[in-house]
């Protein structure tokens, strides 16, 4: 059993798996230092451990559960919003590295373009998400909560109506489409 775990450790890409432990633990320490709530560090460390175990066994679901737990702990910690942004970015980065660790099992040769592409993609996603959140948060602070929810609700209803209309149109076309006669089907050449 121990041999199996050691083998699994190396096949999962030990370096990547280690990063998925170190990064959340560092964030946990950082969040705990900024929080006045009790037991936050314990929750966040447990979440970090779950993410690490998920990386070791190659389970994205386990790591995802750890990320949800980490998010819950951060929410309970009542930390400033900038720290929450940093936590969100680090959790996404952790999951990306977890995915890489799955690709790197049994020590393959990795092209540099993989690192470059992954880094670039992660940077773009985090930058875009930060900008998006900044916009949402700015609007949310200017107006009431209902003023955010109502436009989104109206937009959602409109989007659903458009989908329904498109579906109805497509279905209608299928029903009214001219069908080929039996003689045409029997003699496709003519």
């Amino acid at each position: 059993m121990l041999t199996w775990h050691i083998d699994r450790f190396f096949r999962a890409g030990p370096l990547c798996a280690l990063v998925t432990l170190v990064l959340p633990m560092a964030m946990a320490a950082f969040v705990n230092s900024q929080s006045s709530e009790d037991n936050i560090l314990g929750i966040l460390l447990v979440a970090s451990g779950v993410i690490f175990i998920g990386s070791l066994i190659g389970s994205a679901l386990a790591s995802g559960f750890g990320a949800v737990l980490f998010s819950l702990g951060t929410t309970v910690a009542e930390v400033p919003v900038l720290i929450m942004v940093a936590v969100g970015i680090s959790l996404y980065t952790t999951l990306v590295i977890h995915d890489l660790s799955g690709s790197f099992h049994r020590g393959p040769r990795v092209a540099r373009a993989i690192w470059r592409n992954t880094s670039l993609t992660t940077l773009v996603v985090t930058a875009t998400s930060t900008a998006s959140f900044a916009l949402v948060y700015f609007v949310a602070n200017l107006t009431t909560w209902q003023s955010i929810v109502v436009p989104f609700g109206v937009a959602a209803i409109g989007f659903a109506a458009k989908l329904a209309a498109d579906s109805h149109q497509t279905f209608g076309r299928q029903l009214t489409a001219k069908r080929r006669s039996q003689s045409d089907a029997d003699n496709p050449v003519s």
């Binding site: 995802g64 951060t74 929410t75 936590v87 040769r109 993609t121 949310a140």
Partner: protein, 452 residues
Amino acid sequence: MAQESLPDVLEGPSTSVRLTGNRELARRLPLFDVCGLIALAGLVTAIAFRRPDVLALTTPFVVAIAAALALWRPVDGVVKIRADRTRIVEGEDVTILVDITSPSGIGRVEIELEPSDRLVAVGSLRAVTTVKSNSTTTLAFTVRASDWGVAKIDKLTVRVCDRFAMFGGELDARADTTVTIGLPEDRISASLEAERFRSIVGSHLSNDRGQGMEIADIRPFQPGDSTRNINWRISNRRQEPWVTLRHPDRSTTVVIIVDAHDGENDEQRMTQRRSVSAAMSLSRGHLALHDRVGLLVVGHTVQWLPPKLGRNQLFQIADRLVAVSNAPEASRRMYRPPAVSTIPNNAIVVAVSPLRDPLMVSLVAEIRSRGNPVSVLVPQTEQARSSRRRLRITNRTTEQARRLAAVEQKIGVQSLRERGVGIVAWAPDEPVITVIDSVRQLRQAMARGRSW
């Protein structure tokens, strides 16, 4: 590792795996589900508890999902696998090249090769790379031929995903590219002694005079001589017609029979290896003497190569002999090859067989009864030497069966000797050159006995 452009001068057939339109490569990956779960949980929490700051935790996941959905395109591309050489010698390295071409680009591609038993990986046989749009990425994997025979890449696994690692899949393919692994060249050429073996089968360069290339003598023209043989230079010097006499070019026909016995354990594999080595040496030597050489492989299937001349025949024989190593178990053996009747009556037959099987013995006897001179090389194993030691660790029934088989083998050998078949035992540590020399001496002795 990944080389963008390799010269397209490499040999060997290739196997293509088409990725375009494959639904297995357009599946949702676990990261998509996880990101969706986190995003949904964050949105619900933010709305339910009226805390927009919670969105800070989930926004990266929402953005990643949205970007992956917006930028997703079906996988489009072709993976081509080929070997830089299809014929190598045991111990040599062969490079397996995998070309990945995609018109639209692939975010991440994992290639994994699974070679057959005769090929050993030199370094990792997995690689992860990316393919830019309208380009070809070539991955080179090195494998080493560990054992002679026919080897191939059993499985090629291709895993692809987009740059967000949210959509993709896995595809297994079987590569048809085979690599023929021959015995090392030095081992084969060391066993070649064409001149010595020539005397076994009789002198090819006859003392008779006739049509040929090699000059034997000159003499004055006599009635009946062909005018083609007139040596004009000497005739002019001597002022009378003289003719050139030449040795007739005589070649013989040699048929080599290889008993493709099983290679289920190390001893038998070694015997198989020695049999092939001897057959290859004989073929090479006789083809160099412009003899016609044929091959009859008797075993799981009958492989019959009619006697022919030339270098191409040597390659054909080498291919058939290499295929001997892939022989399956004994239950499928065949002993009545239809090619026996096609063996020329004047052909010299050399069989390489342990003569363990009475049916093989009867085959040799049948060929001998048709008048062919037959010699048999009987490779021996260490098993016979260490039978006393093995007695302790094997049970009584097995040992009795082994003794019975040995007695049966002796009876068969004796019956063949009585029919005039030259049989030479081949010890494990004895080089092939020595045993061929022994065959030559034995045949000479038998010829002297007949002349007395």
